[in-house]
Amino acid sequence: MTAPDPLREELCELADVVVPADLYERSLIRSRRIGRREAAIGTTAAVVALALLGSGLWRLPKGAEPAPPVAVAPVGPSASAPVAPTSAPAVRPGAGETPGNSRPDRPRPRSSTSSPRSTALGDLPGQIFYADAGDDGRLVRLTGAGNPSTVLSASNSAAGVSPDGSRIAYVTDGTLMVVDAGGDDPRQVYAGTASAEQAPAWSPDGGRLLIDAADPGVLDVATGRLSPLAAGLEGRHFRWSGDGTTLVYATPDCGLEVAGTTAQSGTPVPDRSETDGRAACRPVSVDATGDLVAVQLEPSAAADAAEAPADAILDTVTGDVVDLPVSGKIIGAVFDPDGNLLVRSQKGGKTRLWLFAPDFTLLVQAREPSRLEGLDLLAYTR
């Protein structure tokens, strides 16, 4: 920037108008209020937990829980048939009892890399979407059949891919557009929105979009009706859990919070020293139940940090980083609506894709086609 410039001088003169004020006491009073509010939230959570314990729910045998619905029949490690991802998080007693797991009732990955059921890219079910930040947000789709294809030439903004991978929502000139993946006939579904703080986020049923509008909220795509979020949900980069019951979002001061979709306020995700607050500014995707969230921890080398892919998984209850049994550097991680986790890693110039079931069984580990180098992992859908 060259100096002097008239705008800077004018701004400095304008700023001179402000009168000095002693904000020390006021900031402390406000800090105490925030502390009391946080304490109240913690107390409420503790009361709920005690009530649950008192009701005797904890005595229920785990075996009495209904088996999770399975949408696709399980498939063995056959190289010719795709590996079916699990359709819901199967909580297996004992499965997560690995060192460092502070919640042994939840499935967590084992500390060492296990053998995948398949190493063939063709066995990878679903669709993987990549964004090309260097080409105005071009979107590329990869399926197990290989041959990456461009499905949106230039979104010019952060885009949201529907849970079935059939539609893409994006914002252009303040208008929310939806287009079929690979189609060339976008239709306007809402006027007056932006995507910098909230990429359009599809609900798991594919019928609604959480958008950043003048009245922020959830848009019914079919009717165009916008339902505002509760005023107590102050945040950005909202993401749905796969079951549609939970939202994870970033607060204005870069913390993560979890809230029910009908809740009036959120519960903070504990800020662990190991994350050093770095995860706070943007959740990327959430698992099926809201138990885990994919975030970006490492400072992004890319200039477009706001669209950078996730590189770590956090436990939303404890704030712990979940150690993923993946070799190489993680350069992307997304959950699909059923809670399956797709991880993208890089090691020795090779990029690999790792697909984990919700119980962290390694389903597929395959090499990614080199044509996708330089693109960012955006979404993994059915």
Binding site: E13, S31, G35
Partner: protein, 201 residues
Amino acid sequence: MTTEAVIDRNLYAHGSFRTPIGQPRMDDARDCAYADFVRERSHALLRSAYLLTGDQHLAEDLVQEALARTHRAWSRLERPSNAEAYARKVMYHAQVSIWRRPKVAEALPGDGLERHGGSVDDPAEATVRRITLQRALLSLSPKQRAVIVLRYFEDHTEVEAAQMLGVSVSTVKTQCGRALDRLRLLVPDLRAFADAQEAGR
């Protein structure tokens, strides 16, 4: 522990550093550092906040919120020098977030313009110029205004501004370009400057 001590401890459990009669309770270096930080940097924060909000009271509210959040995070800030960056980040996020319904002045305060600062040659002309610029600033979207303040008042690069706002660099470029176009339209004195910026893109 005496009853008084228990009450005293509870009173300051959430970080108050002063006794009820206003005497400093600087019982460790961290408390002193926060007090020093507020004393030394709050006016600088207030200047930026004034440009963001266009109102003295709204600016004070914004800085108060940023300082309070900084106070709560104080123990996590590795160095006191990180505090200002943290406070500014909170301030900008709070101001540009549509979820918080950003507040800006509805009426232009003219009272203070004659009393503080100003041009040495013609106070009346300077006042008109400032009101024009302030009106133009307030006509921008919160994000555009934040980008202008970050780029042209705080002299941040586009990358730094993007990191501060938690948006992409392309968003900063776009918002900055649109903001300059609007300022050029509304503030005739800035046309030459904006033209130069346009040529330099």
